[in-house]
């Protein structure tokens, strides 16, 4: 039964990707990208990758179609061009890469076999010892925040770089690099009363759910990234309905940019803490004498740093994109 769901989802994924090759309009492609993200997230659930499904749903089906939409809106629909001659480069390159990939899959261990090398060398230690060494049930969070914490620091830096890069590219002249919006009068004819009322009821629960996900990361699926994305999507929902100037008054752009830098520093400083007392970088055993509670404190603080950075960077990117769009309108 599990295999059936897995195969059907894969077929749907390939069908959506095929449709994306064929479909011409940008709005239609955005919709299909959103469907593709949802399918991908469901596939990850059937593959027992719970945290990854969480993130892919929040990012792949939530944030990236939204950014695509803002771009499509800012550039206007962009008239679909007639398909040019099929480029010869594609006809040559794609089969060559496909052949190389197929060669690659020939000697791979069969799918799902428990004695594949990947499951017998490094991973068993995480599964067996993380219970005593770190003491939290969600092994993915313990590997993410403790065993390979430097990877996560690198990743937080990637999302911070994306924020800096978007601001550097989209910073409209005259602003100190932040999307301080010029006042756009709320001249939308219909104020969407129903949407605003319902959203006003839902947004507090979404923010509460984001905090739950942030601090529930040790026991079930969740953690800094997912919480950050959900927090940012609540702000984006508020921004969509009440317009950019209102949301900029609630969550000021300068503060959000400052927070994205502070989040990375929180993560970095917790690492440097260990160096001051001679332990290697990002070694949490300095926070408390009992090693397990030290790990808990370390992971909690680190996940908080991740959550702050991800939430503020996605909000910064939304402001930069929405600001482009609103100026085009005024």
């Amino acid at each position: 039964m599990e295999l059936l769901v897995n195969i059907v989802l894969l077929i749907l994924l390939v069908a959506t990707a095929g449709a994306l090759v064929v479909v011409r309009g940008l709005l239609a492609s955005t919709m299909l990208t959103s469907v593709y993200g949802l399918l991908c997230a469901s596939f990850f659930v059937t593959m027992d990758a719970v945290d990854v499904a969480f993130t892919e749903a929040a990012v792949g089906a939530g944030v990236s179609p939204l950014l695509l939409l803002l771009t499509v809106a800012a550039i206007g629909r962009g008239e679909p061009r007639p398909v040019g001659a099929l480029p010869v480069l594609a006809i040559v390159l794609v089969p060559v890469t496909a052949a190389l990939l197929i060669i690659g899959t020939l000697d791979m261990p069969p799918f799902g076999s428990p004695d594949a090398p990947a499951h017998t060398h490094v991973a068993p230690r995480y599964l067996q010892l993380s219970g005593e060494e770190i003491g939290i049930p969600n092994v993915v969070t313990s590997v993410l925040a403790s065993y390979r914490a430097f990877d996560t620091l690198g990743e937080v830096l990637v999302i911070f770089t994306a924020g800096v890069a978007v601001l550097l590219i989209l910073a409209t002249p005259g602003q100190r690099g932040s999307a301080r919006p010029r006042y756009v009068p709320d001249n939308h004819r219909d104020p969407h009363t129903i949407l605003q009322i319902v959203s006003r009821i839902l947004i507090p629960f979404i923010l509460l759910f984001a905090l739950y996900v942030q601090f529930h990361g040790e026991y079930g699926p969740g953690g800094g990234f997912q919480a950050g994305v959900i927090f940012a999507s609540a702000i984006i929902l508020y921004g969509l309905l009440y317009g950019l100037p209102t949301v900029c008054r609630v969550v000021r752009p300068a503060v959000v940019e400052w927070l994205s830098a502070v989040g990375v520093l929180i993560f970095g400083i917790t690492g440097v803490f260990a160096m001051l007392s001679g332990r290697p970088f990002l070694d949490y055993s300095v926070f408390a004498d009992d090693p397990v509670t030290a790990q808990h404190i370390g992971i909690l603080v680190v996940e908080l740093g991740v959550g702050i950075t991800v939430a503020s960077v996605i909000t910064v990117i939304y402001y930069a994109f929405a600001n482009q769009f609103e100026t085009a309108e005024s």
């Binding site: 940008l26 991908c40 990012v59 428990p114 049930p137 999302i159 482009q324």
Partner: protein
């Protein structure tokens, strides 16, 4: 059972090639980014299906479960998803600026404008 055991990997290959084709064949810059997104997502599927153990459950320690799926690919893919969204957002920011500067998002028009001036 042999065909099924490699089905995941064949699907990954097909998805990768569809994404790669969109990136190369389509002239619209936004479509290129969507193709890039598909190309990256198919690599995630490759990693995650490599981490799956048939009969194993999600890597959340609970006493009644003995066989778990491999948690390491999940950690790697959490990082890769964030890298994917970072690249997409920077790419889309560039597309907006290119549209503002050239008035079009079609690569052929842009190259024509470049050759003229």
């Amino acid at each position: 059972m042999d065909v099924l055991s490699y089905f995941n990997y064949w699907a990954v290959v097909v998805l990768m090639m569809l994404g790669f084709f969109i990136v190369i064949a389509r002239a619209n810059l936004v479509k290129k980014l969507i193709g890039l997104n598909i190309f990256q997502t198919s690599v995630f599927i490759l990693y995650i299906s490599a981490g799956k153990v048939i009969g194993g459950s999600a890597p959340i320690l609970s006493d009644d479960v003995t066989l778990y799926s491999n948690p390491l690919p999940h950690v790697l893919i959490l990082t890769a998803i964030v890298v994917g969204i970072a690249t997409t957002s920077v790419g889309l920011a560039l597309v907006i600026r290119i549209h503002a500067a050239y008035g079009s998002v079609n690569q052929n028009d842009i190259l024509k404008q470049d050759q003229q001036c």
